[in-house]
């Protein structure tokens, strides 16, 4: 046996041996508490956006443990798994974490539309609720077809509607003959708003131009030459994520497209995006479903209980950033679902099925928001068996070079007018394709 042979044989033996022992050893016993899985991405192409979100999400549970001793006296066991924004890794994380803790995973929040799609069947089979805050399938707002999926507080369709409402306000109620361009990430995520915008284009009489951008979005020269030199749309909407956003802002500036007519959705409107693009991004608009900045009571608590004791997950200056706040809001939804479920099932670690009831009965009204220190950060949300979106609102914010400043009031998407019908129709198609019998919400308690 040559030397090389010996080395490689030893390497293989070692690899096989180690993996054998690792697989044999099952998950260790966990302390008593409510297990909350965090499917986050701190690596991969979208990590710059994923990290602040993950820190906000983790910090809120840590805050609950530090300040209140958990939820209703039940400590939160929070654990992360890195998905790298890849669907197969996301599935791997889900399968690994779903049965952890004393009662299994409470709620999954995948933070990726692709992973959401991959998990929809699985959460149903495993009876674990999934919250997709401002992402995922819009038609999952129909709780009769998607009992396990929640889209609070807004969906992409609702976001697209709110953006067009804002544009309509700016154009003083007449969009007839105008041109609106949509620059979107060419994936499941980016395509979500298209049908809403097509509907609105027909209704208001504006012309919709579509510009898909291939993943990861570094090459947009041709797109922006066409937008800036040829079509010159009155408004441009962007559904981007990661490095695509700052690239688009830079390219838009390069062709002289006015920033105050360029609106990103909430994934295309964080400090990461505008700071990476530099000074040219001043005036850029973005739609959000929560406030920006750190002047909120809950963030004071984060500073008092976490930052001062150096317990926060990320850098201190990150607290108050858009994506950090969003991670925190998302954690509030999970925590509120657990708190609500405890009212019915008692203060102990609960199962996914019990928490699903809790999320379905979330009622974050002004009083409750004040109690949680969220006033101004979030608009009221109230869910029901059939309505898994909860009627959240959207606010348009503008980057002034230093901070995000609101430039509109809370805009309520036109759900009653047409969005709800679109959700229900799309969900019904899905139910027919998958052979799902929609549940009867009048029989739910």
């Amino acid at each position: 046996m040559t030397f090389n042979m010996k080395i490689s044989a030893a390497a293989i033996a070692l690899a096989v041996g180690v993996s054998g022992t690792l697989l044999a050893e099952q998950a260790k016993a966990q302390d008593a508490g409510q297990y909350v899985p965090g499917t986050v991405y701190r690596s991969g192409p979208y990590a710059p956006g994923g990290i602040p979100w993950a820190n906000g999400y983790a910090d809120y549970f840590k805050l609950l443990n530090e300040r209140d001793g958990g939820i209703g006296g039940v400590p939160i066991i929070y654990e992360e798994c890195d998905t790298a924004y890849s669907n197969d890794k996301g599935v791997e994380c889900y399968e690994k974490m779903k049965n952890q803790g004393p009662t299994g995973a409470s709620v999954f929040q995948p933070l990726s539309t692709g992973i959401t799609y991959a998990l929809i069947d699985r959460v149903k089979a495993d009876e674990i609720p999934m919250i997709t805050s401002g992402l995922g399938r819009a038609d999952a707002s129909d709780g009769t077809v998607f009992p396990w999926v929640f889209t609070l507080p807004v969906t992409y369709w609702a976001g697209a509607d709110a953006i067009v409402q804002y544009i309509d306000q700016q154009e003083e109620g007449s969009l007839d003959g105008k041109t609106i361009a949509l620059v979107y990430h060419d994936s499941a995520y980016g395509k979500e708003p298209i049908n809403t915008l097509e509907y609105l284009a027909e209704k208001h009489g504006f012309k919709l131009e579509l510009f898909p951008v291939a993943h990861p979005g570094l090459e947009q020269k041709a797109t922006w030459l066409k937008i800036g030199r040829q079509i010159r749309p009155d408004w441009t909407i962007m559904w981007g994520w990661g490095v695509m956003n700052s690239t688009a802002i830079k390219e838009a500036a390069a062709v002289g497209y006015p920033m105050d007519r360029f609106i990103g959705n909430w994934w295309a409107g964080s400090e990461v995006d505008v700071k990476a693009a530099g000074g040219v991004s001043k005036g850029y608009l973005s739609a959000q479903f929560h406030g920006a900045g750190e002047d909120f009571k809950v963030l004071d608590d984060v500073k008092k209980h976490l930052v001062e004791k150096d317990l926060n997950a990320g850098p201190d200056e990150e607290v108050g950033d858009i994506l950090y706040n969003r991670g925190l809001i998302s954690a509030v939804f999970t925590a509120e679902g657990i708190a609500k479920a405890q009212e019915k099932y008692g203060q102990k670690p609960l199962t996914g099925e019990q928490i699903r009831w809790g999320i379905e009965n979330i009622n974050l009204d002004e009083a409750r928001l004040e109690e949680l220190g969220l006033t101004g950060l979030l608009d009221p949300v109230k869910l029901s068996c059939a309505d898994h979106e909860g009627g959240g609102s959207v606010i348009i914010q503008q980057w002034d070079g230093e901070n995000w400043k609101p430039v509109s009031d809370w805009i309520s998407p036109a759900r009653d007018e047409y969005l709800r019908d679109m959700y229900e129709k799309s969900a019904a198609d899905y139910a027919a394709e998958k052979g799902i019998e929609p549940r009867d919400c009048s029989k739910e308690s």
Binding site: N87, E92, K96, G114, A118, D121, A188, K191, G435
Partner: protein, 360 residues
């Protein structure tokens, strides 16, 4: 001592032609099949089945497909992801257009659709070779994904472009193998059966006249042509059969593994992944396809979970980065010590075993 064929006489042609002429090999293979079909479903956890063995089986299938084309017929291809996507979308269209079609037929027909697409994109191989052909097959990769992204018909006009597997049962039973009701064990056994049958078929194909024609073309196409092998049929048959396997693998990915899929899942990285599998596993070896898939699929997952299972509390981002580093180092290590792949390592081991314990 253990592995010696002394005393095993081949007294008929059939015995001489057997896939595994040595009795010990047969025992090992049957043993592996018994473990895979009986012991693993009974003993292993759902996590192990769903997240390690399922992608391993799916990617083994894709690796066999590419190995037939690149390892046996010598046609370098970077279109694997595109052909897998074709299989996935064909399976989706077939099963939603004809809800009564048995799922077995869906899988095989989606492979057939991919085969036809493969022939189409194999045509340039008649004129160009090597790296140039690899670049030409990139067209398949990008065109096919663009097509599935662009044309709503392929996704039944889903707003997001994501397809998801409708629930279907195995023929003549009510055991679900796709959709939310399907158990992981059922999916695993279904995938395993598909892979076992098609791997056996591949093994026999490469020992038959068609496989020998592929190898002749691979080793020297002009010489092969002179002795009467038609390059057109041979190359296109390699593309067709390879794409069939990749198509079935794509359908398995969408229907059995993740349950839903968007074209992005089959992007260029998937093609590279399969190519690396066969390079590390061993070009021109069916066993190598499995070894390579195991190395590329299972090892990163084990590396990610290792610190946690060892009780170390390392942040997830550090784990992810360490995983890339160790994995990259291992690839380089194996390519240096054994450039012919893991399958060659196994072959050398067998040679050594025959002499053991008295090496000379």
């Amino acid at each position: 001592m253990l592995y010696r064929e002394a005393g095993q006489f081949k007294t008929s042609y059939a015995k001489d032609w057997a896939i595994f002429p040595i009795a010990q090999d047969r025992i090992v293979v049957l043993g592996f099949l018994a473990i895979a079909f009986i012991a693993i479903p009974v003993l292993s956890s759902e996590y192990f089945l769903a997240t390690i063995l399922m992608p391993f089986l799916v990617m083994s299938m894709a690796a066999i497909g590419l190995n037939l084309l690149t390892g046996y017929a010598g046609q370098l291809s970077l279109g694997t992801g595109g052909f897998m996507a074709t299989g996935a979308f064909a399976a989706y269209k077939l099963s939603t257009m004809f809800p009564g079609m048995p799922i077995e037929a869906v899988f095989l027909l989606s492979g057939v659709v991919a085969a036809f697409v493969g022939i189409l994109f194999g045509i340039p191989s008649l004129r160009i070779k090597g790296f140039y052909l690899a670049v030409a097959t990139l067209a398949a990769q990008f065109f096919l994904l663009w097509l599935f992204n662009k044309v709503g018909w392929f996704t039944n006009y889903s707003t997001s472009g994501v397809i998801s597997a409708p629930p279907r049962t195995i023929l003549f039973t009510d055991i679900y193998v796709t959709g939310p009701e399907a158990s992981v064990t059922a999916k695993y056994l279904f995938a395993l059966t598909l892979v076992a049958i098609l791997a056996l078929a591949a093994k026999n194909l490469v020992r038959s006249s068609i496989g020998r024609r592929w190898m002749a073309i691979r080793d020297m196409d002009i010489a092969a042509e002179i002795i009467g092998i038609k390059p057109l049929q041979t190359k296109l048959s390699a593309f067709a059969i390879s794409s069939f396997y990749c198509g079935v693998a794509g359908a398995m990915w969408a229907f059995l593994y993740t349950g839903s899929v968007e074209p992005l899942a089959f992007d260029i990285n998937r093609s590279f992944q399969v190519l690396f599998m066969i390079i590390i596993g061993g070009l021109g070896s069916i066993l190598g396809s499995f070894l390579g898939a195991g190395f590329i699929i299972a090892l990163p997952i084990l590396l990610t979970n290792a610190p946690h299972l060892l009780g170390l509390n390392i942040p997830v981002d550090v784990i992810s980065h360490v995983e890339y580093m160790i994995f990259g180092a291992l690839i380089i290590f194996f390519l240096i010590v054994e450039p012919h792949g893991l399958a060659r390592l196994w072959q050398i081991l067998k040679e050594k075993l025959r002499l053991w314990p008295f090496p000379h």
